[in-house]
Every structure is written in structure tokens, then in C-alpha cells.
Symmetry: C2
Subunit: 362 residues, 2 copies
């Protein structure tokens, strides 16, 4: 097998970690956990798998500048900005086209930029096994995250019989993908041991992606052709992307390709994983005080427990006599919100949007 | 009667409205309600009673600069800064000495700087009646605030028989002063109709104050002599205050004089009055939104009711999914606290004090 390729999808709207995250600075550009932005942490992890020239980041125009700043280790040409967001199927098609221009039989991993994974060793070992599987046959390999609780916020992948072993790791046929379940259903999934979380981590060869596009998403496949031509002729991408992207269908890769294919296999993960979906999920990655309060920057909690208090820029944030509250202060905006309501930040941001000059806070 | 004198006592620690209030900028220097600092509002009200040259403000050294800025309408010499705080008995002794140097038989009102009173007409009418009473006989006239609820945070004054009528207003003998009562006791006071709140508003002549000092607080009286001498010789006050003040006993005028005197009378107030003792008390003076939220500056509440959200300096403060919370943002510090816990700000500030460089926030 030739050297593998890594394509990191760095998108997102920057809503769930507002006011730290913004449209131009979403979660993957924040050190939500750790000292570096999550995107930089992701790049650090995959460096063990592929040379830098084989690592790509696909992001959006509005985030491009900040992404380039966070990816100084990579060749500048490996940062590709989508002029408009067209969901993951388009991004995967673009990824396969870019890799295909380098190596028509290349194998690439498509990975999210904004997950928290501490055990880099297990992560790269799993990915190596997935690369071996994807190189061995015309299959789509998904990394299924081994569930730790009956989560209702993720899609699940049900495995079937064992399909093969790679680096001593079992790889299973995929029976089906299922949407985010209700709690009782999720409890059944967890108990059965047959289900993994779908975290959007895929490993496959360029021909497998291209064949699937042609078969299941012919419209997208056709629309991507000018991009492949530009790449083959080594023309700069920006111009063709600007022309092609607005015409692409907006569809997820799960729906466009995975769910319609019969050659999907799944490798259950052995690494720790957290998508840290919203502010409350941050807490478990920080050391708390005796009362369970988590803080960053100049924060002080008196008579309160299990609060998250983050402050930037030397501003003193004090919380008195309250529990389970999120208080995040940035130089131009502050959020105060109970942990139980953090999923409603979107509704709040709709209100911010219509304030006079509201876009400056988004 | 010669022209009356007004002495406004502008002290306070600046704790209860932290972080807007600070040691050098306590409540009376804030526009807690209205557009001007409460001290400036107080001066505006008493201008109808006395010429500017007869209006004095006694404040503390740490607040002097800000007080002078808020009292530009008064002669600079009428702002007197106590080098150290020695409670209200010392301030009243100093007030009487200052007025006595101008008019040995002068009548002065001693008034707090930080109360909210909207009906200035009724206020000046009541004070005029009190001045008339104090000029008519050797009595200490207190303005008793007519209670509107069984408050447990104020001392009460029980009235006895009617002592006289001034400007058609009845003035009663005072039976006794009582400390802050428990709720059931306060309910009884309110029902009886015999009790008023003690708001620290006194009207009396210089000889009455001096006689009471000599009789009930001889130590304080003796210690004040060098101040009287300096005033008589028209020497600047600062030097003698610096020498004398640290030696003065720290005692309230209620305890030192009023409670020990038998010539105390009380005029029940006819004006609205609010001492606005802490953040929650601010709300009723502001227009709220339909959900009862009160805000000032760039504040936004989504899915929440009865919150107070104040922001300074163009910083956007957002509150999502919470009720009855106080959020006050200033350029260098923010407070988040349920209304029910605002009395514990003192405990919080003890924590701020021990932070590295903590004094800069106090």
C-alpha cells in the first residue's frame, strides 16, 4: 500500500460554544480541552499515520484564515476552503478528487476536526488497521465508536458478522445505520453490544469513493468533474470551487453514500472519544474544585457547585450562590445559562442576530 | 429662624452594589436609579430648602475625589472628607461644629446621601415642618419613614403622644427606638400604626446637638474641641481632622445620642422612600419587559424571567433559560448571583480581597 492520506473536515457553525466560538472560529479552532485548538490536536495525532504532504484540511471560506493559522505545520496548498458549505458528501467528493490527483489508487481517511481523543496511540493503531482493511478490498471502512452510555445524540451503526481481521483487530460487516434513537432504544443498543456510534470517521480508497459517487450520487459526481479536471491539469482550485460549489447538492455522506452501499464495514474503536457537543460536556475534561466547579481564567465561585466559569482577558467573573450554571466571558460578549439549557444557545443567537450590529457577535 | 443648614452624610463601603459600587465609589455615587448619582439627586432635592452655601457633604477620604466631582454645584469648602470612618456620631458632631461656626444657633438637617425618593415636594414639605419643630424647641426631630411592609432590615421608632403641629403636620414624642425586628414582631409594628422606620434623618439645632454630646457622649464631645477651635479661628480643617479623627470613638448617632435622649420627637414622613439596600431592590424602579426582566446597557434575556441584567461599555451580556438572577457586568468584573443570595456579596468580596491584586476590584 502506498502512503495513506488524511483529509480532516473542519467545518461547523460556531454556535454551541458561543461566545468563545463564532462563525469564523468554531469549536475546532478553540482549545475546548487542552492547550491547542482541537484541529491542531487532530493534526498532531495523525502525523504518526501520514507524511505532512498527505494531510489535508477542508474548511469553509469564513474560517480559512483562522484554520491556516492553526495548521502552519501543513503545506499551505493542503488547506482547501469551500466557498459555501455543502455538507459532508461534497466534502468527501472533493477529498477523493484531491487525493486521486496525487494517487489514483490512494487510500484516504476522512476525519472530523473537533473530537477530543486523549489516547493517540490507540487512535493511530485503529486507523492503521482501518487503512489495511480499506487497502485489502473495495470496502468503505467506518470507525465505530464503542458506546459508553445510551446516548441519544448520535447515530448508531449496527454490525453484522465478522468480515476480516487487520492488525489483529476484527472488522465487521455493517448491517445498518440508524438515526439518533430514543433513550429506551439506545439502552437496547448498548445492552446488545452490536452497536457503535457513528462519528463520521471513514477510510476508503479513491476508486471506492468514486464508484459510490457514480452509483449513488450521480448528480454530485457529475458536478465534481470540473474539479477533477482542474486538479489533473494542476490548475489552482479556488476558481473552480467558486464556480462549482454553489451548484452541488447539500447532503450528508452518510445519507448519500454509506447508507446506500452494501460494501460498508466497521472497525469498533479502542480509543477514548468525546465529541464535546456543548458547554456542559467540557467539564469532565477539566480538574474541578471540591464543589465540582470548573474554571478557566479569572473566575471565582462562592457558595456554589458544579458551575463552569470561563473568563478571558483578565476580567474577574464571580459567581455567588448558584449551582450548575455556565458563565463564559469573552472580551465582547458573555453567556449565562444553566447547564440544562445549553442546547438552546441557537435560539439565543437568533436573538443576537437581530440586535443592531448583531453580526459582530456571531 | 435663620436659613437652615443641610449636612449630607455620604459614606458607605461600596459592597452591596458590587461590581458597580467600589470602596471609592459606593452606592451614593452611582445612578442606581435615575440618571444622576444618588448623592447628586439628594443635593437637587435639598436645594429647595437651603442656599448652596448652607449645604455640606461629609464623606470619606477614599471617596473624596468622586464626591467632589458629583457635587460641583456646591462650594468646594462644603465638601468635608473624614480621614478615617468613625460612624455617624462623629459625623454629626463634625456637622454641628461646622454649622455652629457659621451660626451658633443654626438648625441643621442631617440626611443620608443614598436613598431613593421620587416625591421631592413632599420631602421638602416634611423637612420644612421638621425645621420648624426644631426651631421651636430644644428637641431632636427625626423623620420617621411610614412603613409599607413588615421590613426586618430597618430599625423602628415607636411614637407616643402628639407633641405639636408644624405646617399642619403632627409631630409625636418618641417612645423608643427598636433594633431590626423579627418578621412577626415587624408585622405587629406595621399593624399597630405606631411605628416608623428609622432612616437616619435628623433635624436639630447646634445647641441641642452640643448639649446632647456633652451629656451622653462626653468623650466624643471633648475630642471634637480642637475641630471647633480650628473652625472658630478659620483654620483649614484637613490638618486637625487628620489628627483628631483617629482618636474618636466609633459609634452610631442613634446609640450615642438619640436612644439616650428624652427630647426626641418624630415627624412621620409623607414622601415615598426606598433605601434600595441591594441589587434586587433596584428592579422595582426600572421598567421591565413582559417577563419581568430589567436591563441596562447591552443585555439580552432569552427564555428567562425576573432577571436583572446590567452591562457597561458595549459588552453584550446574554442570559439564557434562567430566572431571578442578577448579572452585572462592568469593564473589569462581573457578578452572577441569584436575587435570593445578594446579601452574601460581602462573603464573596472577602474572597476577592485575597486574590492576587484583589484590591483593584474592591
Amino acid at each position: 500500500m502506498s502512503q495513506p492520506f488524511i483529509v480532516i473536515i473542519a467545518g461547523g457553525k460556531g454556535e454551541r460554544f458561543w461566545p468563545q466560538s463564532r462563525a469564523a472560529k468554531p469549536k475546532h479552532l478553540l482549545p475546548v480541552v487542552g492547550e491547542k485548538p482541537l484541529l491542531a490536536q487532530t493534526i498532531d495525532r495523525v502525523k504518526a499515520l501520514a507524511p505532512k504532504k498527505n494531510i489535508f484540511v477542508i474548511t469553509s471560506a469564513v474560517q480559512e484564515k483562522a484554520v491556516r493559522a492553526a495548521c502552519k505545520a501543513l503545506p499551505p496548498a493542503n488547506i482547501i476552503a469551500e466557498p459555501v458549505g455543502r455538507d459532508t458528501a461534497a466534502a468527501v467528493g472533493l477529498a477523493a478528487a484531491i487525493v486521486g490527483a496525487r494517487d489514483p489508487r490512494g487510500v484516504l481517511a476522512v476525519l472530523p476536526a473537533d473530537h477530543v481523543i486523549h489516547d493517540g496511540k490507540a487512535y493511530t493503531a485503529d486507523l492503521k488497521a482501518a487503512f489495511a482493511a480499506a487497502a485489502a478490498d473495495d470496502v468503505m471502512v467506518t470507525i465505530g465508536i464503542t458506546p459508553t452510555e445510551p446516548a441519544t445524540g448520535f447515530g448508531y451503526i449496527q454490525r453484522g458478522e465478522e468480515w476480516g481481521r487487520f492488525a489483529r483487530r476484527p472488522v465487521y460487516r455493517v448491517k445498518r445505520f440508524v438515526e439518533k434513537p430514543k433513550l429506551e432504544i439506545a439502552q437496547g443498543y448498548l445492552a446488545s453490544g452490536d452497536y457503535s456510534w457513528n462519528a463520521g470517521m471513514f477510510v476508503w480508497s479513491v476508486p471506492v469513493v468514486e464508484k459510490a459517487l457514480a452509483q449513488h450520487a450521480p448528480e454530485l459526481d457529475a458536478a465534481l468533474r470540473p474539479i477533477r479536471t482542474a486538479l489533473a491539469r494542476k490548475r489552482p482550485l479556488a476558481g473552480v470551487l467558486k464556480k462549482v460549489y454553489p451548484t452541488l447538492p447539500k447532503i450528508s455522506v452518510d445519507y448519500a453514500l454509506l447508507e446506500k452501499s452494501t460494501n460498508v464495514v466497521m472497525l469498533p474503536s479502542s480509543f477514548d472519544w468525546d465529541d464535546v457537543g456543548a458547554w456542559p460536556a467540557v467539564c469532565k475534561h477539566f480538574k474541578s474544585d471540591v464543589a465540582g466547579n470548573v474554571s478557566r481564567g479569572l473566575a471565582l465561585v462562592e457558595q456554589g457547585s458544579n458551575n463552569l466559569v470561563f473568563s478571558e482577558g483578565g476580567h474577574l467573573v464571580t459567581v455567588l450562590g448558584v449551582d450548575d450554571l455556565i458563565v463564559v466571558h469573552t472580551p465582547d460578549a458573555t453567556l449565562v445559562c444553566p447547564k440544562s439549557k445549553s442546547q438552546d444557545i441557537k435560539a439565543l443567537l437568533k436573538r443576537v442576530e437581530v440586535l443592531k450590529g448583531g453580526s459582530k457577535w456571531l
